[in-house]
Amino acid sequence: MFGETAVPLIDTTKRTRKTQSVSLYEGEKVREILDEISILQEHLESLNDQGLNDQGLNDQGLNDINSPEYETKLLIQLVQNHDLKVLKLYHSQRSEKIKFIAIQELPLSQEMRLKLSERERIFHSKYSDLLRKYKCEYPPSLNLSATLVPPKEALTAVRVLKDIGDLMTLNGYVEFRKGTQAIVRKADPTIEKLIKLGYLKLVGNKESTIINPL
């Protein structure tokens, strides 16, 4: 029955609504819905042609409220409408998550790349470019990608999880060797990025929840 192909995608959208990670792109389900819309469109066009052939130059049959053709046309448009809404919901939910990854300046991992469709990968790179352009106008002392957690202390202890070597931080040169700890400035953009990438870990800090505005 028409309209039922969209049901599995609705379930997927509902299931993944609250998760932060992006799930695998349901290309097959999306293609099925797109096919359904195309078939319906062809049907609608054939109805139009039929109307023109039967009734001369104007398609009165399709605009007459009481005719069965009019009812078919309305029904087709209703199903197309429904399908497009489902597709929009699914794609917009995914693009929200992709945008959140991009604003945190996190690179797309290989695993993540496989989960995204080709269009979404293009979207991610274009959106990152857009943010980069916006950041050019942003005050240099501020970091748009900073974690939105209220600061409580200027200095913090970090544990080094992977060897990094010598790095220039706001405190000067610091050597980051695996297994050691260092006291660094929490607001340092370099440190923040290393924490996000998993090279460093905050010690004794439980407030690592990421907040998304709005």
């Binding site: 469109q41 409408n81 929009k88 293009i122 352009k133 005050p139 970091n143 748009l144 200027a154 505005p213």
Partner: protein, 267 residues
């Protein structure tokens, strides 16, 4: 006490009275921000007399600085709770200038002594100001993205954006339309999409990235000025006396004008 320290204070650390409420007070969204109104921020007033002594200037500067921060805090909360985009707050730029100066001071202090207490306090203070500024910008950015089409179509909303935000809104709209078209809208010709949009007109939904702010949404607000006798537009026959510190739960469209006049704040 001001939350932003001046040079004068750095030389005399003993005069700084750090009370326990300092850290708690800063991010309390329920904090009474009405003090700002009393300061009546005006740069020309601050430096109008050249003969006043240095300590007086510093004190006035402190009031000016903390006033700017409070204005931005209020703007952030208003932006967070309102459904539509609000005018860009110029206090952001002024605060940015102050922040840069204060950063230089803190750097110079910690350069001579790495754990200088005043330097550390200045750093924490800077981080807190930066946090408010970042939250304000990110909230606006999220709102622009959410209502990108209605903002681009509405000249009034566009006028409320800063120049970089305008550019961002235009580029983002193009990007999201391109993405939606390539992902699923390409399946139908434009004429058919237009027909479907028309059938949806009653509910204001379509397949382009159109989402309008809901002006009928209920919001909590608090009066920061005495307004007097006033009737909300949705209930024109009921007059109410609105005085300072009154809190109401009303439709956003009812208090839109009052928010523009800075008579209320959203909480």
């Amino acid at each position: 006490m001001s939350r932003i320290f001046s040079c004068q204070n750095q030389k005399e650390p003993k005069t700084i009275n750090l009370n326990a409420a300092y850290t708690k007070e800063f991010f309390d969204s329920d904090e009474d921000l009405d003090v700002v109104d009393e300061f009546n921020i005006d740069e020309s007033n601050i430096n109008k007399e050249n003969n006043v002594d240095e300590s007086n200037i510093n004190k006035e500067n402190e009031i000016f600085l903390s006033g700017q921060l409070k204005i931005l805090q209020r703007a952030w909360l208003n932006e967070n709770f309102s459904t539509e985009i609000l005018p860009y707050e110029p206090a952001f730029e002024r605060l940015n200038e102050i922040l840069e100066n204060q950063n230089i001071k803190a750097e110079s202090l910690t350069l001579s002594q790495e754990t200088s207490p005043i330097g550390m306090l200045l750093f924490i203070d800077n981080e807190r100001i930066k946090y408010v500024m970042n939250r304000y910008k990110r909230t606006r950015l999220a709102k622009i993205e959410k209502y990108v089409c209605s903002i681009n179509e509405n000249a009034e909303y566009m006028a409320r954006l800063s120049l970089p935000e305008k550019e961002f809104a235009e580029r983002y709209k193009r990007l999201i339309e391109e993405h939606e078209h390539a992902s699923f809208l390409h399946v139908l010709p434009q004429e058919s999409l237009d027909v479907l949009k028309e059938t949806e007109n009653g509910t204001e939904t379509s397949f382009a990235t159109v989402e309008h702010p809901d002006l009928n949404q209920a919001v909590f607000c608090r009066f920061i000025k005495h307004v007097g006798s006033y009737s909300f537009p949705s209930t024109p026959h009921d007059k109410e006396i609105l005085s300072k510190d009154d809190a109401y739960l009303v439709k956003y469209s009812d208090i839109r004008k009052l928010l523009e006049d800075h008579s209320i704040e959203l909480i």
